[in-house]
């Protein structure tokens, strides 16, 4: 077997060398040109935002140009005395995410476990009902949701954002964890069951210890979604108690007095998810891709 593969590899190498003529060389150049262009187009608005955030505070240019005298003070201004309370907004975002992620992951694991390993009446119908959450545009339910939250006394309350977010994100979470539990080795579960472990015990001491990679991916995605959530926070929370993105969105009317400070605030707000992405990009990308394709 090993021999065959090495023979094959050699043969492939030989054909590859033969094929590496002018045409495929041009092809490669074209491919990298395409990729470089795509990457550049993606980066330009982001880099522009950063350079604008470093212009002197009375500047009104918004183009891509490195300032002669980078003004890092803008970040301090944005943080301490901008048009809006950035530290409070960031703290609110963090509080919301810190509640949404553990609760959201827990309910998703429990439900995904049921859908992935158990058979009960109506299980497939119920699963499809949950999957409505993947397709349904959230904008379609925001109006009654607002009045419902009002009658529950959750307007202007962080829980008014947290609870609906858990409901919104758990559709993907359930789907994602079900996928994992369905693929987990049946022998492992069977053995524990013969030993008399009940279903919760099996989840806790057999499956969860090997479930941390999908759980970590799910937690990361939920954090990013929760951090970036906009409409719910805009509608439910008051100006000063909003989460960071919707707080920032509210304060960007048509006329902005201090463009560099506003840009600095935008950079600060984008930073947590970007840092998380840089650290865990493989996990995040494969999570979104796999989640998408299997759904």
């Amino acid at each position: 077997m090993a021999q065959t593969t090495s023979v094959l590899a050699k043969r492939q190498k030989r054909t590859r060398r033969k094929n590496m003529d002018a045409k495929s060389f041009v092809f490669k150049i074209l491919m990298y040109a395409f990729l470089t262009m795509a990457a550049t187009v993606v980066l330009i608005p982001i880099i522009s935002l950063v350079t604008v955030s470093l212009q002197s505070s009375d500047s009104s240019t918004t183009s891509l140009s490195w300032p002669t005298n980078p003004d890092w003070e803008n970040y301090l201004t944005a943080w301490t005395k901008g048009d809006f309370p950035l530290p409070t907004l960031m703290l609110n975002s963090l509080l919301v995410a810190l509640a949404v992620v553990p609760i959201g992951v827990t309910v998703s694991v429990l439900a995904g476990y049921a859908f992935g390993t158990m058979k009960f009446p109506g299980s497939s119908v119920l699963f499809y009902v949950f999957m409505i959450g993947l397709v349904m545009p959230f904008e379609a339910t925001i109006v009654p949701l607002y009045y419902q939250l009002r009658s529950m006394g959750l307007i202007n309350n962080l829980w008014g954002v947290i609870l609906p977010e858990i409901a919104l994100f758990c559709a993907f979470g359930i789907f994602w964890m079900r996928q994992f539990f369905m693929a987990s080795p049946p022998a492992l579960v069977e053995a524990a069951r013969i030993d008399g472990a009940n279903s919760f015990r099996i989840l806790r001491s057999v499956l969860l210890p090997i479930a941390w990679p999908p759980v970590l991916t799910l937690a990361t995605l939920m954090f990013i979604w929760s951090w970036n959530e906009f409409l719910l926070s805009l509608v439910v929370l008051d100006r000063s108690t909003r989460t960071a993105p919707s707080g920032l969105g509210t304060f960007t009317g048509q006329w902005v007095s201090d463009i560099p400070a506003l840009s600095a605030a935008a950079v600060i707000i984008a930073l947590p998810t970007i840092l998380l992405y840089v650290a865990l990009n493989r996990r995040i990308i494969s999570g979104i891709l796999q989640g998408a394709v299997k759904g």
């Binding site: 092809f27 074209l30 990729l35 795509a38 990457a39 993606v42 980066l43 330009i44 608005p45 522009s48 604008v52 009104s60 918004t62 183009s63 891509l64 998703s108 429990l110 158990m118 058979k119 299980s123 119920l126 009902v129 949950f130 959450g133 545009p137 904008e139 379609a140 339910t141 925001i142 109006v143 009654p144 949701l145 009045y147 419902q148 609870l163 858990i166 409901a167 919104l168 359930i174 492992l188 524990a192 013969i194 030993d195 008399g196 472990a197 015990r201 001491s205 906009f230 993105p245 969105g249 463009i259 935008a266 707000i269 984008a270 998810t273 840089v278 493989r282 990308i285 998408a292 394709v293």
Partner: protein
């Protein structure tokens, strides 16, 4: 089998029983009763309260005339709101803007991604991880931040005019304030967000296609077109379905980016169903009409998603 696996199980105290039970079925599933519901309970409670109930309530609200103010009376109007919304030029223009967004959020990114995947389906890409990480970046950035970044790009002294200057085109246009250009300008932001996703998605799909299939086409004397239509396209069917579905949903539900960049302006040039729902419900207290718009939006989304699924269905039952 029982013996070897029970050793792996950290939760076991007693040794595994020597008598092995007969295997009932290949996949393990509990069959006894309703324990599954207990595990569904927490997620079910959240989902029922905050997704299903509001969804049903949206239909209900769309049949009433209500201001939404506390204690305000509501009047049953039947389908009147639908008559209003579906004949109102403003709602119709919001819906037609959505169609433009389907072009820029879905058609352009999927076409670009498909072109790239088809052209370079069998190339080894050095530095793929690097490129992938960059083009995927818009997926994790808050759309508010994206909106602000693009507002700067489109301003009169912004990056777009600076870029046009390199080609000798002097422009001082503020693109987002321009009646002709605002809608395409906002739409292009959607292309910017979605193209990377589609590229990465379709590229990962192409990587999974069995390379023997390409060799088979070559042996048959098929050219690049034959290769695309008989191997690449059918092989990418699942990824293509997903890319189209995700981008169509994103196009139709757009709210954040419009809200941050133009708020629907100039005039009403960039209003979309999302901003109309927000305006009707939270600015003009027309709850019935807002709910009607929401129902119309939801119906369009579900219909288009089903249609895409049907158009790209597995006709040959191959995969």
């Amino acid at each position: 089998m029982t013996n070897s696996t029970s050793r792996v199980n950290p939760g076991t105290k007693s040794p595994a029983p020597k008598t092995s039970k007969p295997r009932r079925r290949l996949r393990f599933r509990w069959n006894e009763g309703y324990i599954g519901f207990v595990y569904l309970l927490p997620a079910g409670a959240f989902f029922l309260t905050f997704v299903i109930t509001p969804l049903i309530q949206t239909f209900n609200l769309s049949l009433w005339d209500w201001s939404g103010l506390q204690g305000a009376p509501s009047t049953w109007v039947g389908l009147d709101n639908y008559r209003t919304v579906l004949t109102d030029p403003e709602s119709l223009s919001a819906l037609s803007h959505s169609m433009v967004f389907i072009l820029t959020f879905c058609v352009i990114p999927v076409t670009l991604g498909m072109t790239f995947a088809a052209l370079f389906s069998r190339q080894k890409i050095a530095g793929l991880v690097f490129f992938r990480t960059i083009v995927f970046l818009p997926q994790v950035i808050s759309s508010v931040v994206i909106g602000i970044a693009w507002r700067w790009v489109y301003q009169d002294r912004g990056t777009l005019n600076q870029f046009l200057g390199f080609f000798g085109i002097e422009s001082t246009r503020g693109w987002l304030g321009d009646f002709d250009w605002a809608l395409p300008a906002v739409g292009i932001i959607g292309s910017w967000v979605m193209t990377g996703l589609c590229m990465v998605l379709l590229l990962s799909g192409v990587g999974r296609i069995d390379s023997d299939l390409y060799d088979a086409v070559k042996v048959d004397g098929g050219g690049a077109f034959r290769e695309f239509f008989s191997v690449t396209l059918p092989g990418l069917r699942p990824e293509l379905t997903v890319a189209t579905t995700i981008t169509i949903i994103a196009a139709l539900r757009t709210f954040d980016i419009v809200f941050v960049t133009t708020k629907g302006g100039p005039g009403k040039e960039t209003i979309v169903p999302g901003t109309e729902i927000y305006r009707l419900a939270f600015r003009e207290n027309e709850i019935g009409e807002a709910a009607t718009m929401a129902v119309v939006l939801a119906v369009i989304v579900f219909t288009l998603v089903r249609t895409v699924g049907w158009l790209l269905r597995d006709r040959d039952g191959l995969s």
